[in-house]
């Protein structure tokens, strides 16, 4: 573990310091192009540290800095997830804020606040996965609520205020329950014979897990599932999620859906290892299965008649978190490896889709599914990436979610949870039909007649017409040089990158398989 020496320290400190520096720059000089790119650079640093940490920890070793920071293979996977999603989200964020400024949706102060808060959000999530102390893990997840509050309310107006208030109150209460659970874990650790001081250090707790009091741990784990489940968007405390995801700026929705939910699930994975050793595993499994299946059922029922495409994506996040927690309920190494791959795949696909939906919103001016019709004919590149993103999200090959869902199903069947798998598959089928039909309507549906200017019927030449209209709009609203197609190409680049990575991950196992296997040994139990 000391083989890397100074490099190991750098790998753990760099992903924390880089976003803090980027945030500091935004606080000093406000929103500039360079500041926006510094957030992208910070995301790249997080991703690179994740890769380096993965190289160092795949053989089962651990990097540590003092008592506070620690990275094993599971941490490395999460760093890669955070870095990967953050690169796509911050990259799209550059153009997104410029667009918002040009359209007058936000002012220089709002843009500056965005530039400060997004890197802080990243730093808090990185600290959460690097913390060796479960109390620090809790405090940093709580901190994400604080920094994202004003990001959710970025646009202002009645809906944004409503979404922010619900988000802050519900998540704070949920996370407070997780704190109570943490306190109870500490209490039982004080009376487990590891010395009267007790500990919240994960390694120490795992080593002494079989001596923790089952009575106290049962109450504690239930509170932790409820508390971190709130942040992960699990039923029954999920109601903040669709509101917050639909109101937040697109890149922030991408980060919240792709990473924040997964970081909360990561906390549950860490606690699950302790709980399985301290309690009877059946209790842990039933608790997680209940949360998973009810979340899946709720998401499926809300998706059927959904009218708003950002809320559609939000409920799909609840569905995917349900699947991931189903994997945690199974808990075998295969299931854990599959759920980690699923977290990565979902994060990338969701960031592509949310950032794409932000551009659709900017073009169409509505978040109603019925307001967006025939997008593929009018905006082939943007609509194409959105369609591929939906395909990835629905688990179609060659994207990696196909592989991870298959592996999850196999793991559940191997563990004798065939009935839960059957319920989940039926619900997934409902979700598939719902999302596919809504998506098809947006992409292929007949373009609404109102968008056609007088004298040019939509049947004659829809593409040039739409382009002409939007270029007139751009000329009058924005600057004369900023032509629509150029903006689309720049905006689509991060999305295409995300899709390409997803496809590669779905086709070739290398280089992730070793890492996932190592992580699965840490968080999985036979």
């Amino acid at each position: 573990m000391t083989a890397l020496g100074g490099l190991g320290t750098a790998v753990l400190l760099a992903p924390l310091l880089a976003p803090l520096l980027a945030g500091g720059a935004a606080a000093m000089v406000g929103w500039r192009r360079a500041v926006a790119w510094s957030a992208v650079a910070a995301s790249v640093v997080i991703l690179a540290s994740g890769v380096l940490a993965a190289v160092a920890t795949t053989d089962g070793s651990v990097l540590v800095v003092g008592d506070l920071l620690r990275a094993d293979a599971l941490t490395a996977v999460m760093l890669i997830v955070i870095g990967g999603v953050a690169v796509i989200a911050t990259w799209s964020g550059v153009g997104y804020i410029d667009q918002e400024l040009a359209a007058g949706h936000t002012d220089a102060r709002g843009a500056g606040r965005y530039g400060l808060l997004v890197p802080m959000f990243l730093a808090a999530m990185v600290l959460a996965v690097l913390a060796s102390n479960l109390g620090v893990l809790w405090a940093s997840i709580e901190a994400t609520t604080i920094v994202t509050a004003f990001l959710v309310g970025h646009r202002g107006g009645r809906k944004a205020v409503e979404a922010t208030w619900k988000y802050v109150i519900i998540c704070s209460v949920g996370i407070a329950l997780a704190y109570l659970g943490t306190v109870l874990v500490y209490y039982s650790s004080q009376h487990s014979g590891m010395g009267s001081q007790g500990s919240l250090d994960w390694t120490v707790l795992v080593a002494h897990a079989d001596r923790l009091d089952p009575g106290v741990m049962r109450v504690a784990f239930a509170l932790l599932v409820l508390g971190f489940g709130t942040k992960a968007g699990l039923v029954p405390m999920h109601s903040w999620l669709p509101d917050a995801h639909s109101q937040a700026p697109a890149p922030v929705s991408a980060l919240m859906s792709g990473v924040l939910l997964s970081v909360a699930v990561y906390a549950l994975l860490r606690y699950r290892v302790i709980a399985v050793a301290a309690l009877d595993p059946g209790f842990v499994r039933i608790l997680l299965l209940t949360a998973a299946l009810t979340s899946l059922a709720l998401a499926a029922s809300m998706l059927i008649a959904q009218r708003d495409y950002k809320r559609l994506l939000a409920y799909s996040s609840i569905e995917h978190m349900g699947l991931v927690v189903l994997g945690a309920a199974v808990g075998t190494p295969l299931a854990v490896a599959a759920l980690l791959l699923h977290i990565l795949g979902h994060g990338l696909a969701k960031s592509v889709l949310f950032c794409g939906s932000g551009q659709i919103l900017a073009l169409e001016g509505t978040t109603q599914i019925s307001g967006v019709r025939g997008l593929l004919a009018r905006r082939p590149v943007l609509a194409g990436t959105f369609a591929l993103g939906l395909a990835a999200l629905l688990g179609l090959p060659p994207f990696s979610l196909f592989v991870s869902e298959l592996a999850l199903a196999r793991a559940a069947a191997d563990a004798g949870l065939g009935w839960a798998l059957a319920v989940a598959l039926v619900l997934l089928l409902v979700v598939f039909v719902a999302i596919a039909s809504h998506g098809a309507g947006m992409l292929f549906g007949r373009p609404p007649a109102v968008t056609a200017p007088p004298g040019a019927g939509p049947a004659t030449a829809p593409v040039p017409t739409a382009a002409a209209v939007s270029s007139i709009l751009t000329r009058t609203l924005v600057r004369p040089q900023a032509l629509a197609p150029v903006r689309t190409a720049a905006g689509v680049a991060p999305l295409v990158t995300g899709l390409a990575v997803l496809a590669v991950l779905g086709v070739v196992a290398w280089p992730l398989d070793q890492l996932l296997r190592a992580a699965a040994l840490i968080a999985g139990t036979p």
Binding site: G135, W138, E162, T164, A176, L184, Y186, G198, V219, P242
Partner: protein, 219 residues
């Protein structure tokens, strides 16, 4: 301090915590409710001092000072400012009337005693036997959160819940590790400041600070 005196003072402080929680359900004037929060902050600090004397720990004295400043001075101060700006001083129409609220408080206290059975059984002592009080305050906070409609009442409910958790932490473990305590307190302070700004925005956009206005985001 002899054991007898310690137990008496401990029970007095815990009784005060529970009583002030119940009184918050009874009162509808927001000024009075915020004053009760100050009382709870002082009692929590007293609890920390009491445990500090018992365990002869300087750390707990420092924590007590921090708790006193945060929960008895700063947070109620912020709430007072929100109250002064918003103008309306009463919880207009709680979903559950006062009589039923007090009955619910009694029921929730019983639930807290039932749930904390295994917690007390792990290490029976004078302090852990008072654990149900902490959990009862948590449940009371939850109750305030779901039944009150004023934005400020919801913040109060959250703070009540947090006080209950702090009391549980002191009673069960004599406080969590210092780094966690610091992180938690900082988060709490920032959270209440965020809520203050949000309440101001709510007043600007809706004209009042009432949850009934928050009805636009639905499926």
């Amino acid at each position: 301090m002899s054991d007898g005196v310690f137990v008496q003072i401990l029970d007095l402080v815990c009784g005060g915590l529970l009583l002030s929680g119940v009184l918050m359900l009874w009162r509808r004037e927001l000024v009075a409710i915020v004053r009760l929060l100050v009382v709870q902050g002082v009692l929590l600090a007293a609890l920390a001092v009491l445990l500090g004397v018992r365990e002869q720990s300087v750390e707990l004295y420092l924590v007590a000072v921090g708790v006193l400043i945060l929960k008895a001075v700063v947070l109620p101060g912020v709430l007072h400012r929100v109250l002064r700006d918003s103008g309306d001083a009463r919880e207009a129409a709680p979903l559950v009337n006062v009589t039923s609220s007090l009955l619910a408080a009694a029921l929730l206290t019983l639930v807290a005693y039932a749930v904390s059975g295994p917690l007390v059984a792990l290490a029976p002592s004078a302090t852990t036997r008072a654990l149900p009080v902490g959990l009862a305050v948590v449940l009371l906070g939850f109750f305030v959160l779901v039944t009150r409609r004023h934005a400020l009442s919801q913040v109060v409910g959250f703070l009540l819940l947090d006080n209950g958790i702090a009391a549980t932490a002191f009673l069960a473990t004599s406080g969590v590790p210092l780094v966690v305590e610091l992180g938690g307190s900082l988060d709490l302070l920032l959270l209440v400041l965020v809520l203050q700004v949000l309440a101001a925005r709510m007043r600007l956009t809706f004209g009042r600070t009432d949850m009934d206005e928050l009805q636009e985001l639905r499926d």
